[in-house]
Point group: C2
């Protein structure tokens, strides 16, 4: 299994190398570490009767979760719905594992959950590792790192498509990012999201004060 | 004078319209408001013997301070050293005023001050409005707005020149931005810079914790 994880890491590092830094390999390594930490803590919190997390599934899904992401997909990449599956089969991963990891990657995103929350809920009953990777990915959109990623992504979009990157980013904090906390699945994820969402709110408070306040400080 | 300020505002709005949002017309309006607020408060704090600030000089210099900025200059813009002067003369501003505003714009930047701090010190004795506009411009590089502008600028640079935008931005907070507080010239600017630099440090603390901490929170 070590060989499979090593080959996956090399593949993902290469796959992400053309992305801007809001969705690069550093994002992947942060999500991997977050997912592993969440799983470790949840293992202590969950009922002893729960099926233990499969740490290989968590590692592979965290590494591969942005492979096929429609924001960055290139026409030469092939079908985004089977990119992860085909890669894992190509390195001789067990087909069951490959299918499970593909399912997690397909259902990890907020937009896919918004489109069909019930489906994601059912999927998590079947594959509890999805909850862990999903929470980890969402945590990386919150807090100081989330603020930086959002500004970065909006700036890249401004360069390529026009618009007002900075204002779009700050709007996005209030419109989408502060809601993520309510969609966390694990106890650990929820706790960490609370801290990171507070940071987001504090940051937006500073922003509003600086942009509007007569002396840019509390009155 | 209202006509001159109105014409200047229209010119600057057009001039900045091709810049990315880290250095757009919103930056100019924030600096203008900051400069006017600093001047109002400094007027109460400075010795009564001081020459009063010329509010027209402050308004014009705040509006024009990025005209000729070498980061965004185009080859068709003409000589950056006289762009402000020539524009003001072209709208029939008094030559003395036009020269003073050009001097402020030439000496407003941190890099120009670092290159010859003594010259800027002497210039401020002669033109105290330089201190006000300089402080206002530097305040907009600090706090939540400064964080957003720095991420945005670094992302644009990443798209155009490569590199690692987000990491470069966070490095820039610690390397340059936290030093600005020590270069503030007015009492009011220093007080506001202290608050905004604290925000910057708090943000960097969150970032480090999220990137390195085992659970992305205080241990």
């Amino acid at each position: 299994m070590d060989e499979i994880i090593k080959a996956t890491e090399a593949y993902v590092r290469q796959y992400m190398s053309h992305n801007d830094s809001s969705h690069d390999f550093s994002h992947i390594t942060r999500v991997l570490r977050l997912a592993q930490n969440i799983a470790a803590r949840e293992t202590c919190l969950r009922p002893v009767s729960s099926r233990p997390y499969d740490t290989n599934i968590i590692a592979l899904a965290a590494l591969l979760h942005d492979v096929g992401d429609r924001k960055y997909i290139k026409s030469t990449d092939g079908d985004p719905a089977t990119l992860v599956l085909n890669f894992l089969l190509s390195i001789n991963a067990p087909p069951d594992l490959a299918h499970t990891v593909q399912e997690i990657c397909t259902h990890v995103s907020y937009s896919s959950e918004i489109a069909d929350p019930e489906k994601v809920r059912r999927m998590i009953e079947e594959i509890p590792e999805l909850a862990v990777v999903q929470d980890a990915d969402r945590l990386d959109a919150l807090g100081a790192v989330g603020i930086g990623r959002c500004f970065h992504f909006a700036a890249v979009k401004e360069v390529k498509e026009g618009g007002k990157g900075m204002e779009d980013a700050v709007r996005h904090f209030g419109k989408k990012l502060v809601r993520l906390e309510g969609w966390m699945k694990t106890e650990t994820g929820r706790e960490m999201a609370r801290i990171r969402t507070e940071r987001l709110r504090e940051y937006v408070g500073w922003w509003k004060e600086e942009v509007a306040g007569p002396l840019g400080r509390s009155n």
